[in-house]
């Protein structure tokens, strides 16, 4: 009787969910960062990030819920807080983040539509619906910054949680390292940047082109930095797994000649990290060496962003699937 045959109890729905949760967290993070660092200069990307942030996660949560054996009883998650369960903490984090990201989205709705939202300005107005007024410019500006600041730690939490979910499992040597959470967090922010970059490259650019160059510079240098940091985690991950216990070294074989080698090296490393980094390096080259502005290019922006997203998805695919194959050493008789 073969007991330890591999069943993939976590499948593509989980991969999709981990990817979209990261994407949402990343998009919110970039939007908030752009708001604080650039203000009016990066307004377009702040808005794109805010508009995008809640949606991937919402889709991902559907995937997650329908992966349950009892999709319609997911609410059991919210009757308790299990401090030792990353999934329990994560459920609460995701809920909080979803609420914040929807509030943030509302604050970034452009002018004529935003005015449909009316709020009371004084306590006395509370009971007089007619006295409620649209948010004024200043109030919106402050509210955006406040909500972005509240959301920032949540985005880090969500991005990290997707990795901790896997990393907390001792029984799967491929997952059981803090580097998975670090890698997933950076990849989450990177896929958020890529989403914003992709949309920013394809919606009709309005206004002067200096703006577009400046925001492209911001996004590309941020993403290039994130990719470099990801590589700085992938390399120690490979080294440590090789030099760790026998079962860790065995688990690494899954991506070093095993069934996930192509997905990891071809997909995650080459398509997802190295090629986008090369494209972004090519875009940043004139900035660094010739002190010119980054050129706004749909082709390069769209290509590197798409590849980063593909790589982010494959990273989660490789870890979710290969991780489930990874196992403690086979039993032996003493």
């Amino acid at each position: 009787m073969e007991h330890n045959t591999v069943h993939f109890h976590w499948n593509m729905l989980i991969v999709f969910y981990l990817f979209t949760a990261g994407m949402s967290a990343g998009a919110f993070f970039v939007s908030g960062l752009a708001t604080y660092l650039g203000g009016a200069r990066y307004k377009r990307i702040s808005r794109i990030g805010a508009m995008v942030a809640p949606w991937p996660l919402s889709l991902g949560l559907f995937a997650l819920i329908f992966d349950l054996t009892k999709p319609f009883e997911f609410w059991w998650l919210f009757l308790t807080v299990q401090y030792t369960s990353p999934m329990s903490i994560g459920s609460w984090l995701l809920t909080l983040f979803s609420i914040i990201s929807f509030i943030y989205l509302i604050l970034w709705i452009p002018r004529p539509w935003r005015d449909l939202l009316r709020v009371p300005y004084t306590l006395a107005d509370l009971t007089h619906l007619r006295a409620w007024k649209p948010l004024n410019r200043r109030a919106v500006g402050i509210a955006r910054r406040v909500v972005a600041a509240i959301g920032a730690p949540l985005t880090i939490g969500v991005g990290m949680y997707t990795g901790v979910l896997l990393g907390a499992v001792t029984a799967r040597p491929m997952w059981n390292t803090p580097m998975v959470a670090q890698l997933f967090l950076l990849s989450a922010i990177s896929s958020g940047v890529a989403t914003v970059l992709l949309i920013a490259a394809f919606i009709h650019p309005k206004g002067d082109h200096d703006h577009l160059h400046a925001e492209r510079h911001f996004l590309v240098s941020l993403d290039a930095m994130l990719i470099v940091l990801e590589i700085f985690i992938v390399i120690p991950f490979l080294l440590h797994q090789t030099l760790n216990t026998w079962s860790s070294a065995e688990s690494l074989n899954l991506i070093m000649g095993g069934p996930y080698t192509l997905a990891f090296w071809g997909g995650v490393a080459l398509l997802g990290l190295l090629i986008p980094l090369a494209i972004e390096g090519f875009e940043l080259f004139p900035v660094i060496w010739q002190e010119q502005a980054v050129k706004y290019s749909r082709l390069w922006g769209g290509l590197s962003a798409s590849l980063v997203l593909l790589g982010g998805f494959l990273l989660r695919y490789v870890f979710v699937y290969a991780g489930q194959v990874s196992h403690f050493l086979p039993l032996y008789v003493r």
Partner: protein, 188 residues
Amino acid sequence: MSENNTSPKRRWVFVMEPERCINCEACMVACSVENVVPLGEHRNWINKIERGTFPDLSAVYLPENCHHCANPPCERVCPTGATYRREDGLVLIDYEKCIGCKYCMMACPYDARYVNEEKTAVDKCTFCVHRLDEGLPPACVETCVGNARHFGDLNDPNSEVSKLLATHDSYRLYEEAGTEPAIYYIRT
């Protein structure tokens, strides 16, 4: 076995004697019948382990089921508290609270859990808790033809399992993972 089997003073354990196991799988059949385990799934199983190199070969069979760990990774990761540890150390599942996220299945180093499609919940060996509470041993123990499976209270020095462990060398599986499993194997 006496009454009050759920007392926290008890520590229910299995002691397996691999040398007595002949891989007849009667324990698996008894378990499936006793616990109405869906076809294709099993709560207990037998590992076949080969030793030596040709021509000095031998095979040893390690019967296994849920280890009811004292430090259960499955319980730790359960997001709804569906997996819990009873006072006497049994690791059980509240099938109503289990939403089937399968996180526990990732966390179990023994792969002791399966999805029970009929219950739409995750399921596993319960040490036959319903029999235990009536003072009966688990079905697999009762049916074992080679007497390879022993079950009892480790905190009772006069129990069969305590005596076996006192007189034999034993080991546990993946003990180094810190799970504190409750299945002991007599060294062969």
